[in-house]
């Protein structure tokens, strides 16, 4: 049986991922379309939030992906540092742009959603603030990748930054909760919707979450393939020149 680590061989990964790509894109996009169309056109307004409840189909999945993308990068960094598998380091590099885009979507849709309640476009609500902080961590991670020339050194340093960064991201999440209590006004509208989502809204939400997850998977797959192809071109040129 082909063990999971077999996929770690970059060239083999290229061959196998090309088979998975069409499915990932196809199912992902269709789930997304179903989820959004269903949620946007065929669900009633919420008695409290009116039609803004429709933003849930964007905010919840993107928020979910923003956090899970960083977690995936953390696991990939650990695999790279311990097992030295190129695919996992390059997958982490490919996941970062998708993660930062998801964080941005979560931020903007969160702010727009809260706007009618708060009357302003931005409020330092703990959840929104922690997404803003996560956005900064993504920026640092991408900046470090861009700043280093040698690919292996870059992979090592960004992996260590991701691990150390994760610890501080969790600390920041806790500190932000602590800091907003400090302002003596409780979190006005806490945006974690999972608990009080009525059934009628729930099914389309599942579809759009599935859509976002598969879209993330497809984008990271494509991104990793590009990184491997660039590294392969670099290796060929290294070998080519010395002939």
């Amino acid at each position: 049986m082909m063990s999971l680590w077999e996929y770690a061989n970059p060239v083999k990964f290229l061959r196998l991922s090309s088979k998975v790509m069409p499915w990932a894109w196809g199912v992902g996009v269709s789930c997304l379309v179903i989820g959004l169309v269903w949620g946007f056109f065929f669900t009633p307004d919420d008695y409290r939030m009116g039609s803004t409840v429709k933003i849930i189909y964007l905010h919840v999945p993107s928020a979910l992906m923003a956090i899970n993308a960083w977690f995936m990068m953390l696991v990939a960094s650990l695999i790279w540092l311990i097992r030295r598998h190129h695919v996992s380091a390059l997958a982490a590099k490919a996941a970062a742009p998708v993660g930062i885009a998801m964080t941005l979507i979560a931020l903007i849709t969160g702010a727009i959603w809260g706007q009618p309640m708060w009357g302003t476009w931005w409020v330092w609500d703990p959840r929104l603030t922690s997404f803003l902080i996560l956005f900064l961590f993504y920026l640092g991670y991408l900046a470090l990748w861009a700043g280093i020339g040698n690919p292996d050194t870059a992979a090592d340093l960004t992996s260590i930054l991701c691990i150390v960064g994760s610890v501080f991201a969790v600390l920041s999440r806790y500190a932000v909760n602590f800091w907003s209590q400090g302002l003596h006004q409780g979190a006005s509208l806490s945006l974690d919707k999972e608990e009080n989502v009525a059934d009628v809204f729930y099914q389309p939400l599942l579809f759009s979450i599935a859509g976002f997850v598969l879209l993330f998977f497809a984008l990271v797959l494509l991104g990793t393939r590009s990184e491997i192809q660039l590294r392969r071109a670099r290796a060929l040129s290294l070998r080519g020149h010395t002939k």
Binding site: A143, V164, A175, F178
Partner: protein, 218 residues
Amino acid sequence: MSALLVRDLKLAIRAGGGFGLALAFFLIVIVLVPLGVGPEMDILSKIASGVLWLGALLACLLSLDRIFALDHEDGTLDLLVTSPLPLEAVIMTKALAHWITTGLPLVVVAPLVAVLLGLPSNGYVWLAISLLLGSPALSLIGTFGAALTLGLKRGGLLLSVLVLPLYIPTMIFGSEVARRGIEGAGVQTPLLLLAGISFGTVAVLPFASSAVLRINLR
């Protein structure tokens, strides 16, 4: 290690060592705030503790990218790595030297400069205590960032982008201690958390930084 510490302190104090630069920067930043925000004392005193913490944090950041760069440029770093000194101890010593030349003076200077912002009277002692407890974390996280950006072209700027997000917990708890001290509310929780982060970074980050340094010197 003490020889390394003595050497670093000597270098910092000698001509061109840049000992007073971080403090001068801190003073300038604090002076700029009223010029930007306006002279009303009641506004300034409300934001004083946060601004003073931010100024101290930026002052620490400023003097960080030289921490390894000088030794890297003249080859001392390569020689230190191949010397009997464990690299983690070298990093701890470097962070300690940075703390002594930047962190500690800030703990003394900040309350003096706080007068400019009309910091309420009972805030001075808490500001000093919070800076004293928080600044070790600033030095060690900064040393980690300096190791990450060793030898990079635009290292200084990249260092700030990498390190500032890591400063967030320390800054939140630090300025919270000062703010609660002023309001007379219980400072115990933020104080313990601030100290916890500092001791955690002192214990763990040198190992991460030395791994990073070894990779960068490869």
